[in-house]
Assembly symmetry: C2
Amino acid sequence: MTKARSGMVKTDKGQQTRAAILETALETFREQGYERTTMRAIAERAGVALGNAYYYFHSKEHLIQAFYGRTHQEHLDACAALLKNELDLKARLLGVMNTKIATLEPYHRFAGKLFKTAADPHSPLNPFSDESDPIRKDSIQLFAEVVAGAKIKVPKDLMADLPYMLWLYHMGIILFWIHDPSARRARTHRLIDRSVDIIVKLIGIASNPLMKPLRKSAIRLITELRQDVSAIAD
Amino acid sequence: MTKARSGMVKTDKGQQTRAAILETALETFREQGYERTTMRAIAERAGVALGNAYYYFHSKEHLIQAFYGRTHQEHLDACAALLKNELDLKARLLGVMNTKIATLEPYHRFAGKLFKTAADPHSPLNPFSDESDPIRKDSIQLFAEVVAGAKIKVPKDLMADLPYMLWLYHMGIILFWIHDPSARRARTHRLIDRSVDIIVKLIGIASNPLMKPLRKSAIRLITELRQDVSAIAD
DNA sequence: GCCGCGTTTTGAACAGGTTCAAAATAATCC
DNA sequence: GGATTATTTTGAACCTGTTCAAAACGCGGC
């Protein structure tokens, strides 16, 4: 997660410099927002030369990827207890979602710019990109646990793709959150309440044998969509 | 649609200059892509000074909005016949979607950058922004016609929000299309086939009286989401 | 100590988006 | 027509992300 992603850091001193730049960057992003933070400012504040920041991070955008990893890890930790103790699917999903946006909250200010760059198909920050693969896998895994640990019966076929579907759903919620200017993200929370309720109901309905044909084609669609998306890196 | 959006153009000569810059810009975008097209190149090719381009378009991104309007208009025209003659909902929706991506195709190359900027909540290009309101309304209206002109019965409550839902769906497809590198966008077309099929089935199922409770809460969710999103401009 | 070599650091230079004050041009009024 | 005002046009200057060749540093081997 917070691993060095490149072969450029060879010494301990290098690690420290890299860390210092990253800390300074995230700190400044939180304070000033992404746009208003210049690479020169980061370098100066971190006590290194401008070029040095580029030695460790290929671009300003690359600084963002560290943010992904960090908040994801925080989120995992914050969810651990809930996932260990709670058995009700609805409560589990609700908890995971609310925790997620709580984790992201300090960065709401620049989250917009973040998503902006992430939406670019050619950007390595794109959540579907190869470079994002580890975190994406990890993130989907989290939703697999949400389902697996719940006392609920779902058909095998649905079970297989449900984690991915929930991950997609969670991306949608984040997108909404980014655009949500309401106090304490009240609207996002309300949206989560409502949508989680519906999702759980839908899972129930979809599990009904009568729904098998529709379920099948929906799953097939998702499967294909998934393949397609991951095939994009060519 | 293609109306001048600012109070800065007062004379006929001004209109012409504005148009020239816009044409040159879109042309160059198509040829070179968005990133590789510099404002200096646009200005030079259009035979004006650099600053003049900024007199008519606040920023490079603002040049994109014209693209929205233009392709939307093209799409409307291309759909007119179908919507007049076809009665089957599935065929109507399928046609509108396939036509949409056909219209966008010449710009696929820079569509990524386009969406990238559009994803920024603070960008006027954001499809949910005030500045995008006219086109958005118009676009949703198109889907209202898709439904209204079909020989199909849907409950009133669903009818009210269905156009918006379909519009959201169509945004999702565009997002996929942007990321789709397959030859002749085969995957996007397949996704459209599959998803339209499911949507039509879902509409059928949701219209069942037994589904009323779930339908109600889903509609409520969408309604709120919609309000929220449009309330963002504050 | 000092040489060689890989790693890290530096800062100047470049590129392209953006701003702005001033100049040129067009429209309006007398 | 001339003066006044509004609109359009210009290009130099600025800012910030990015590149790169050269310098500095750290360290094992002698």
